[in-house]
């Protein structure tokens, strides 16, 4: 159908294009005005050409068309189908013939070529088929998961498939042409050769065997080989071998064998025998171990009765019972019994059996019997030792435990642990309850220990904690533990003991208390001694130094080499003060304690030091004198300070004296006047006395009065002299109870004249009956004189107002006697007020500026205070307060 349509299409195409070409040729010929024959030739060419396309019919049609065209256009008469010219007719006939023949021939040639082409295609197809088939077989050969090897009689490999070669670790090319024996193990080669020969002997018979083959890399491959010989095309016998890899199976087999061996061995080692027993048939199977346990010949036919026979008489009934039960009811059973063996020994047996139904549907018991004698004995022993341990734990209050560090609970804890925590071992106690009894302060530590244990792995720990009992009492637990490292390499548990150490704790505490008290007492006495002294010493019965202990604070004072010396050899002032040392030695001889002996010696540097020492004799329990113990202090500094203070006091007194004398100098005129005055009066009175006496009637009464006055004035003069002398005297300070008003009056007596000569009015406001103060009269006079003189001087420049000096005495609320000297002079500048009392401060052109400063030192030496008082109006007011004489106060 398709072909027909195809042919038709082709014919149509050929006709169409041929017609068009003919038309073109016709037109061209008409145009060129060619002749009939030439045109015919042109047409012929076109027709032949188109006949090559293939359709005879189309070619024929074209030929007719061409004839018609020729006849119509070119054969005369033109434009008529008629051919009148015979020649032309001939040509037309010839043309037609040639075109038809040509066309036919053309078609013939084409058909033949077509046929030839089809044959060739057929041939090609069959060759390709052959090739395919070969490839197919080859693929099967190659890719079949079996090894195929083809060898010749000599064993040379003729061919091998890739799989086979690959299995053996070779490339095909490496095997082909080589001896097949190369892939066999050395020891198997002879066998292989023999097998090939066997195959060749009977080529009809295929052979199967298993063999090991060596791979190229040396590893071994187990194969199952099927070999058969055949005659190759040229009658050459070859052997075909197909191999199957059975390594895995072989390995399983070996493993099975090994495990059977292991089982037997395990049975022997574990004293466990296995048995099988078919109840229905009475058939029994015993493993070797059963025989051994029962001490029976392995050749003996096994039977349950044999077991009963060997059973210990005491257990025989129960064993028989078990067997009977098993026979009746096909149920698993388990029992333990003892064997009494011919050698008289007893064995403990534990047997278990499982009821199974075998292939034939019979009940069969399969089981194992274990000789547990050793375990029993061990168990007994263990039980006994556990009892011992429990008893020991109970007695020693020690509990042992094992702690799961991950599960955070006890894996095991002995009864004593529970008792330690105050629980009955019988009752079940949760870990929380136990933990609740641990002293809260110790919980963090316990957790920390666990953490350490977990991290430490191989550590051993000891720690203490406290348990709070419900009754409020406390137990001290000493715990020792070590870690157990699990299979994963991590700490899995802690094993340890808790020991109740409450008693030990209490004892230790008591001991520590006692020790602490002892230490404290010792320290206390040491402190006393160290505080009160620089070093401690001890001398023997002969008074030689036997012990010296310098305090760290005073280290370095003592000279070296004092051991064994006598005190009077150490001292440097024995010759200066023989009496002191005589008395001291007498005291030592009398074994009497001594206090505060001060002597001079030298220190380590060789400088003189003063030492104050006190000591006390000590005796043994029998009252024998052993020596002296005592303390010593370096009092050099104190002595030096005393000396310095004395010198300072001396210097101050000296200075006070100097200023006093200076003041007296300033007062000279006044003092002279004070002395002159009574002297002048004395002379007057004396003269008057003479006058009264020399009268004609001597007036004795008047003369007596005169003499009385003379005496009075003389006393007055001597008083002044006494005061002046007292002030000028460089005397010791005499602290005596004084009435300050007397002192003030003394001063007034000395300065009155000075006041008058400076036209100063003195106003005294002395409070009567003041309490006594303790002081040095002269020094206090000096203070008041100074203040008065300063006041007088301050008023020198005053001309516009009364020059008034007020001296007041009073007692204040604070128990002080107060003296104030107030002037109405120029006063003290605001910014001088703070410095007025300082040494060397002066506003005068002359004067040392020591006056007020000395006044202040004197007042302060009397425990008082000198101050400037702010005052209304012009002038200044100085005041000093003195404490009352203590006896008066008390």
């Amino acid at each position: 159908m398709y072909n027909q349509i195809n042919n038709f299409k082709r014919s149509a195409t050929q006709f169409t294009f041929g017609s068009i070409t003919l038309a073109v040729v016709t037109l061209a010929s008409l145009y060129l005005q060619t002749h009939f024959a030439e045109t015919a030739f042109g047409y012929l060419l076109v027709i032949l050409l188109f006949s090559l396309i293939g359709s005879f019919i189309a070619s024929s049609a074209l030929s007719i068309l061409a004839i018609a065209a020729l006849a119509y256009y070119f054969a005369p008469p033109a434009f008529s189908l008629r051919i009148e010219d015979p020649q032309a007719l001939l040509v037309a006939v010839a043309f037609f013939t040639v075109s038809i023949v040509g066309t036919h021939l053309n078609g013939k040639v084409r058909q033949e070529r077509q046929a030839a082409r089809e044959t060739a295609a057929e041939l090609r197809r069959s060759a390709a088929d052959l090739k395919d088939r070969e490839n197919w077989w080859r693929a099967i050969f190659e890719h079949n998961p079996s090894m195929y090897v083809m060898v010749d009689e000599a064993g040379t490999v003729l061919n091998v498939n890739t799989f086979g070669a690959t299995q053996l670790g070779y490339a095909r090319s490496e095997l082909i042409g080589q001896s097949v024996l190369g892939v066999f193990l050395e020891e198997d080669r002879a066998l292989a050769r023999k097998r090939i020969r066997t195959c060749l002997e009977d080529i009809t018979q295929s052979q199967t065997w298993e063999a090991q083959k060596a791979r190229k890399d040396g590893s071994v491959l187990w194969v199952r080989e099927n070999a058969k010989a055949m005659l190759w095309a040229d009658d050459r016998p070859v052997v075909l071998i197909a191999c199957e890899d059975i390594t895995e199976r072989k390995r399983t087999e070996l493993a099975l064998q090994r495990s059977e061996a292991h089982l037997a061995q395990a049975q022997e080692l574990s004293n466990t025998g296995s048995f099988g027993w078919n109840v229905a048939t009475g058939e029994a199977f015993w493993s070797k171990e059963i025989f051994r346990i029962l001490q029976l010949d392995p050749q003996t036919v096994p039977a349950p009765e044999l077991v009963v026979a060997r059973t210990h008489p005491d257990d025989r009934a129960s064993v028989q019972e078990t067997i009977d039960q098993a026979m009746r009811y096909p149920r698993d059973f388990e029992h333990e019994y003892r064997l009494l063996l011919p050698d008289g020994s007893v064995k403990h047996i534990h047997a278990r059996a499982r009821a199974t139904r075998n292939a034939t549907g019979d009940i069969e018991f399969v089981g194992a019997a274990t000789d547990i004698t050793a375990a029993r004995q061990a168990e007994q022993q263990l039980r006994r030792s556990e009892a011992y341990l429990a008893e020991a734990q109970h007695l020693s209050h020690t509990g042992s435990w094992s702690w799961d560090v991950h599960g955070l609970d006890f894996i095991y804890r002995s009864a004593e642990v529970d008792r330690l925590f105050g629980f009955d071992p019988q009752e079940t106690v949760s870990i929380e309850t136990i933990r609740s009894r641990i002293h809260p302060d110790d919980l963090p530590r316990l957790k920390e220990m666990q953490q350490l244990a977990r991290e430490g792995k191989d550590g051993r720990f000891a720690y203490d904690f406290r348990i709070l009992m419900p009754d409020g009492s406390m137990r001290h637990i000493h715990s020792v533990a070590h870690v157990v490292v699990g299979s994963d390499g991590n700490v899995s548990e802690l094993i340890g003991t808790h020991m109740d150490v409450t008693e030990q704790y209490a004892a230790r505490e008591r001991l520590e208390c006692t020790l602490a008290a002892l230490r404290e007492s010792e320290q206390r006495f040491r402190d006393y001694a160290e505080t009160a002294s620089d070093w401690l010493w001890e001398t023997g019965p002969d008074h030689q130094v036997t012990h010296l202990s310098e305090h760290t604070s005073a280290a370095g004072i003592l000279a070296t080499g004092l051991m064994g010396m006598l005190r009077w050899d150490i001292a440097c002032d024995v010759e200066e003060e023989p009496e002191k040392w005589r008395q001291h030695r007498a005291r030592l001889e009398a074994h009497l304690p001594f206090r505060d002996l001060v002597y001079r010696t030298v220190n380590r540097m060789g400088s003189p030091i003063y030492v104050r020492t006190s000591g006390k004799p000590f005796f043994d329990i029998n009252g024998h004198f052993l020596g002296y113990r005592g303390v010593s202090t370096d009092i050099t500094a104190i002595i030096r300070a005393d000396q310095a203070e004395q010198e300072l006091r001396k210097a101050q007194a000296e200075l006070a004296h100097v200023t006093r004398v200076t003041t007296l100098g300033e007062l000279t005129t006044s003092i002279a006047h004070e002395i002159n005055q009574p002297l002048a009066a004395i002379i007057n009175n004396a003269d008057a006395c003479l006058g009264w006496m020399n009268r004609e009637t001597p007036d004795l009464s008047a003369a007596r009065s005169s003499v009385d006055w003379i005496i009075e004035d003389a006393i007055r003069a001597s008083e002044v002299i006494r005061r002046v002398r007292a002030l000028a005297k460089k005397g010791e300070i005499e602290m005596l109870p004084l009435d300050i008003n007397d002192v003030v009056k003394d001063v007034i007596a000395l300065v009155t004249r000075e006041l008058i000569s400076h036209q100063v009015t003195l106003k005294t406001e002395l409070t009567a009956a003041l309490p006594a103060i303790l002081g040095d009269r002269i020094q206090l006079q000096q203070v008041i004189i100074n203040l008065v003189m300063n006041g007088i001087e301050a008023m020198d420049a005053v001309t516009d107002r009364t020059r008034e000096l007020v001296i007041q005495s009073s007692e204040d609320d604070m128990g002080h006697v107060r003296v104030a000297v107030t002037d109405s002079g120029v006063g003290i500048a605001e910014n001088d007020a703070d410095r007025v009392l300082d040494p060397f401060f002066t506003t005068k052109s002359s004067g040392l500026g020591m006056g007020l400063s000395i006044c202040r030192s004197i007042v302060e030496a009397h425990g008082g205070r000198l101050s400037i008082v702010r005052k209304q109006g012009p002038g200044a007011s100085f005041r000093f307060d003195l404490p009352l004489h203590k006896e008066v106060v008390s």
Partner: protein, 225 residues
């Protein structure tokens, strides 16, 4: 020595004993007491005061007297008191006594009219002598004052013209010169002169001139001096 002094004192005692009063101003009690005792022992009346103020406030008898004054006194000092007395026109001779007199002080005192300046201690005779001299001076002063008062009263009796003539006569002018001076006739001058001599009870010209001096009358003629 003492005997001699005693006899000397006896002598002076007689002279000084004629109703004279010695005032003592001395603040020092014993000194005041001894001075009183001393003056009394020679028979002098003594009035003693503790201070100048005290003395000023008391009524003083108008008799021959002297004042023994301490230089240094509380309140009003001796020298100030001297000035104060002068201001009050009390011309009592003053004997200063002092414990420690200095030159300046004594000069000032003497300038102020002090009779003497004694430094304590002094012997009784010195003081007594001074006291006698002082009372003597007071007596004389009192007498002089009486003379002047008499001359004055005489002078008051002269007419103004006669007084003028007297003053000119005292200057030593001659009658003619006086006449020319006063614009009078020489004869008139002579008459006035006679009146003056008579009224003034002058015995001689010299006597008149001495009277004029005593009165302290000066002429108003500067060209004459």
């Amino acid at each position: 020595m003492s005997e001699r002094s005693n006899s000397q004192r006896e002598g002076s005692k007689v002279e000084a004993s004629a109703n004279a009063i010695v005032f003592v101003v001395e603040d020092d009690l014993s000194m005041r007491r001894s001075l009183t005792n001393l003056f009394q022992s020679v028979g002098l009346d003594v009035v003693a005061f503790g201070s100048a103020r005290e003395m000023l406030q008391s009524t003083l008898p108008d008799v021959v007297s002297c004042l023994v004054l301490d230089v240094r006194l509380p309140g009003l000092s001796g020298l100030e008191f001297q000035t104060e007395l002068a201001r009050l026109n009390i011309h009592i001779p003053i004997i200063f006594i002092t414990g420690h007199g200095d030159i300046l002080m004594s000069v000032r005192a003497m300038k102020g009219g002090a009779v003497d300046f004694l430094t304590k201690p002094f012997r009784d005779q010195e003081l007594l002598d001074a006291a006698v001299a002082a009372t003597e001076r007071d007596r004389k002063r009192r007498e002089d004052e009486q003379t002047i008062a008499k001359l004055n009263s005489l002078f008051e009796t002269l007419s103004p013209r006669e007084q003028a003539v007297m003053k000119l006569v005292a200057t030593g002018l001659m009658n003619k010169q006086i006449a020319a001076e006063l614009g009078l006739a020489e004869i008139t001058v002579k008459i006035y002169r006679g009146h003056v001599m008579k009224k003034m009870r002058a015995r001689s010209l010299a006597d008149l001139i001495r009277m004029t001096e005593t009165l302290g009358i000066r002429t108003n003629r500067p060209e004459q001096t």
